[in-house]
Amino acid sequence: MNKLIWGYGVFLLIFTVFSYLFIDGNFPPLHTLYTGFHTSHRELITSLYFIFISIHFLFYIIFFRTKNFLSSTRLKKLIILTVGILIFSYSAMLSFDVFNYTTTSKVLFFYKENPYVTMPIEINDSFLQYTRASNKVALYGPLWIVLTGFPYAIAQNNVLLLLFSMKILVTTFYLGTGYVIWKFSKNIRTTALFLLNPLVVIETLIASHNDVVMIFFALGAFYMLFKKKLVYGFILFLSSVLIKYATIFLLPVFLWVVWKNVRKEAVNWNWIFFLSTVCMSIIFFSSPLREELYPWYFIWVLPFVLLSQSKNIIRLSLIFSYALILRYLPAMYTGDYFGITPIMRSIITLMISVAGMVVFYVDKKFLFKIALFLKKLP
């Protein structure tokens, strides 16, 4: 058992080193570590990424398939290991969003400008070298921008420190989300399914995406309703919407629970989480209408899927996690976000999802046949 944990630790360590092969040449603090490897060895980097992600998912499956492996202590060990190692990974490995966070934070807290009015490009600062959305006003909710004040207070104008303190902020909410899932489910497996999911781990602990912050507040709001604390529930729900707006789609479900609470009627929480899954799936699957189906958007759906306790949907969502995290492959290989890349991305997601479902179906039939065979044995 311990070998498995150590193996996982070594894997995470290698993956952390791997993340530094993606350093942006225009990011001044890490310029000395820049190798340009991800642009000069595209085939190799794409293959390595595919292998690493597959290994990560393999570990994930083994954790759940190994009998009596997942205990409270082991889960804590695994989480400490995951957080403790990946906190040192390079955040902009797969997405440059973290630079948008740090830049928006600097626009507000250093330049004292309203980031919803003033674009970073209007301010001549070194952040323009590596910020991708510099020609846009703030994209995120006001509460998120206020929260980034904490990392800014720690790091001030040290961009590298700001990058890592941003990661600490997001990690805190990742752990918080795990805690709320645990409080709701009282189930180690459900909590572990979220906290150890490679998509969640990579998009949160490496890429520092703020989606987990939004989900923490949304789950917290439902938990407050569960505890019959309506006012706190409303505050947390509003906080969630003010992080990234997407959870506004949960409003009908939220109000329904409030209504049930007011009428002092019993609430079927599995049903509530199933409805929440449906609501968040609508906004998730309609994201290509606005931009595209970003892998980290699945964090909007996953916690509700896990809490709905619907086994088939959980398995499908795990297959989908794998399909989504591999969407980076085409851009990694071509170095281009246009042309054939978007089509390839869709093909990858579709193919893996379909293949996963077929395997899942065959697996079920196969397991059923084995069970029958075993029953016939004397």
Binding site: Y111, N114, V117, T118, E122, I123, N124
Partner: protein, 175 residues
């Protein structure tokens, strides 16, 4: 003699042409906004006050003030066209105020050690456009007018003086 006249004409053409180019500006003024006299206008003014609070920070304030200077100039121009001299006069004064505020915002940004070079280009371009519009107005507006409203006392409006004053404010940035 013919040669001399030709050279003179050419020089005159070049001079006129250059002066036209010098006044040309890429700055685009907005569509005429809601005009005074209705509830929607009152709502617009309330919206502007909220926007002022929202636009904190010297650069944000600069964008806000310049946007409103443009808006009120277009409003003044439209009102003058419809011979609403008193309202036009007041709108012009508002535009002047916002333009001055835009300059102040930029001065504040300079004190805060922000790079104002791009904003200065924007302000100069806007000022050229404003001067262009004000020159046109100066040509068509009467020197002064005695504005007699329906129920209140009459007001003497020194329109040309007002335009002259507005032009001077727009030229402040060149000092």
């Amino acid at each position: 003699m013919k040669f001399f006249i030709s050279v003179l004409l050419l020089l005159a053409y070049l001079f006129i042409n250059t002066s036209v180019n010098a006044a040309f500006s890429d700055h685009v003024l907005p569509y005429p906004p809601q005009m005074p006299g209705g509830y929607i206008y009152k709502l617009r003014v309330i919206g502007e006050k909220i926007q002022k609070i929202w636009s904190f920070g010297s650069f944000s304030q600069f964008s806000y003030n310049l946007k409103l200077a443009d808006k009120y100039l277009v409003q003044a121009k439209t009102l003058f066209e419809y011979k609403q001299y008193l309202l036009g006069y007041e709108s012009l004064k508002e535009s002047d105020l916002f333009f001055k505020e835009a300059i102040t915002s930029l001065d504040k940004a300079k004190i805060e050690k922000k790079d104002i070079s791009q904003k200065k280009i924007i302000l100069k371009s806007a000022s050229l456009k404003h001067i262009e519009e004000l020159n046109t107005l100066q040509m068509v507006l009467p020197e002064e007018i005695n504005w007699i409203p329906e129920k209140t006392a009459s007001t003497k409006l020194l329109l040309r003086n007002a335009i002259k004053n507005s032009l001077e404010i727009r030229k402040l940035i060149y000092e």
